[in-house]
């Protein structure tokens, strides 16, 4: 998909400066001269990359919820949990709301985001078509992005493992490694997603 920003007017999202976008080379970004906000960025091959990284993320997300996540042993007793079991423990401890919030932030929202992105971009890439409700889907998933907390969960998990390591032995299951890779690829997807570019791709195919 070629670049068609040149000459397009836009208002800075954070200071409302009226800006005429220059031609953007691959690998460059447009920054607001008044407040420094990054208006839009262009990665090499971004459509293909977003598709590839999204599919990879989904595969690792599925793997990370199917197999043992972590196991923990101390003084002859041990315990192995999967990712979903660990959320279930919170429900049993009377923290239903907290459990739902965590499930939504680390699994549900990322999954909706990734499937939504594929729903929009896969047909665009394959045959240049836009599926019904694609606009609504894109609007919805863009609004969801701040609530995806995949990478924060990963850091939280690392911190708790360091805390636990003095008390007992912790072993990592297959799903643990899958979750790390899921986090990595999900971060790459988010890095390549540029809302202005996404809407330009859609607009071009709607009208052509």
């Amino acid at each position: 998909v070629e670049n068609d920003d040149k000459g397009q007017q836009t208002a800075c999202h954070e200071c409302d400066l009226l800006i005429t976008l220059p031609h953007l080379e691959v690998g460059s970004k447009a920054v607001c001269p008044r407040c420094g906000y990054i208006l839009t960025k262009r990665y090499k091959n971004s459509l293909n990359r977003i598709l590839a990284f999204s599919v990879t993320s989904i595969v690792f997300l599925v793997v990370s919820s199917l197999f043992p996540f972590l196991s923990f042993s101390s003084k002859g007793q041990d315990r192995t949990v999967t990712l979903l079991q660990s959320i279930d423990v919170l429900v049993h401890e009377g923290q239903l709301v907290l459990a739902i919030m965590i499930l939504v932030a680390i699994i549900v929202i990322p999954a909706i985001f990734l499937f939504g992105l594929l729903y929009i971009l896969a047909p665009l890439k394959h045959s240049g078509t836009v599926l019904p409700y694609a606009k609504n889907v894109l609007r919805f998933i863009l609004a969801l992005t701040p609530w995806s907390m995949v990478e924060i969960f990963l850091i939280g998990m690392m911190v708790s493992l360091v805390k636990v390591s003095s008390l007992a032995d912790v072993a990592f299951g297959l799903s643990f490694w899958a979750y790390i890779l899921f986090t990595l690829f999900m971060t790459l997807v988010l890095l390549h997603v540029d809302k202005i570019q996404l809407w330009q791709w859609m607009e071009k195919h709607v009208h052509s």
Binding site: E14, C15, Q95, L98, V159, L161
Partner: protein, 209 residues
């Protein structure tokens, strides 16, 4: 009630234009729904300052249970001990886990508190129609918005510990009421940051010149 009466001279609004916050499409200020993506569009976020204050007050109210109530309790060989966020940090520090203590202290204590102060200050400056350091204030807002989600770390730490360490009387960890209050605090501060419209900082940009 604060309403932006005028805009800075280089602002899109001065030219009768607005950019959709969802897709970035530039269009007439008179539109209610975006011509490209159908999202509802506004020149400035609706009731930005009032909403930000509302979420800030919610955050301040939640700040107390989040910090005063226990976030988790630990049973070790039949002996139970409860910890608040701050006493947990102190305990980690005493055990020599300095990096972890610092991460938790920054993410759970400094960031939420800093965020509350920064957003209150940003709101007050807009209400006073101050034209002081607009670029720096915008950058400060950007940092605040970016960093806020990271406070969730402690909630996830408690969740992982609770789900993993369930060996009855030998060693168990249970969540405390502060965990939910703290998650609510982080969500309320995130909503406060999202409600604030940094463009209000720039509406009075040319007033002194």
């Amino acid at each position: 009630m604060y309403t932006a009466k005028h805009y800075s001279k280089d602002s899109a609004a001065t030219f009768g234009l607005l950019a959709c916050h969802i897709c970035g499409k530039t269009q007439s200020i008179q539109r209610h729904h975006c011509i490209r993506c159908d999202a509802s569009v506004h020149v400035r976020k609706t009731d930005s300052i009032q909403r930000t204050w509302a979420f800030l007050i919610t955050s301040i109210v939640l700040y107390f249970p989040a910090n005063l109530l226990p976030i988790m309790s630990t049973t070790l060989l039949g002996k139970e001990s409860t910890n608040t966020i701050l006493s947990g940090v102190v305990l980690l520090w005493e055990h020599g886990s300095y990096p972890i203590a610092l991460i938790i202290f920054i993410a759970s204590v400094l960031v939420p508190l800093g965020k509350l102060f920064v957003l209150c200050w940003l709101c007050l400056m807009v209400q006073r129609k101050s034209s002081l350091l607009p670029r720096q204030r915008t950058i400060l807002y950007r940092i605040t918005e970016f960093i806020g989600r990271w406070s969730m770390i402690d909630v996830f730490v408690v969740a992982v510990l609770v789900s993993l360490i369930q060996l009855g009387n030998l060693m168990s960890i249970y969540p405390g009421p502060a965990a939910l209050a703290f998650a609510g605090l982080v969500i309320a501060t995130m909503l406060a940051a999202m409600s604030f419209d940094p463009r209000l900082i720039w509406d009075v940009y040319d007033d002194e010149a």
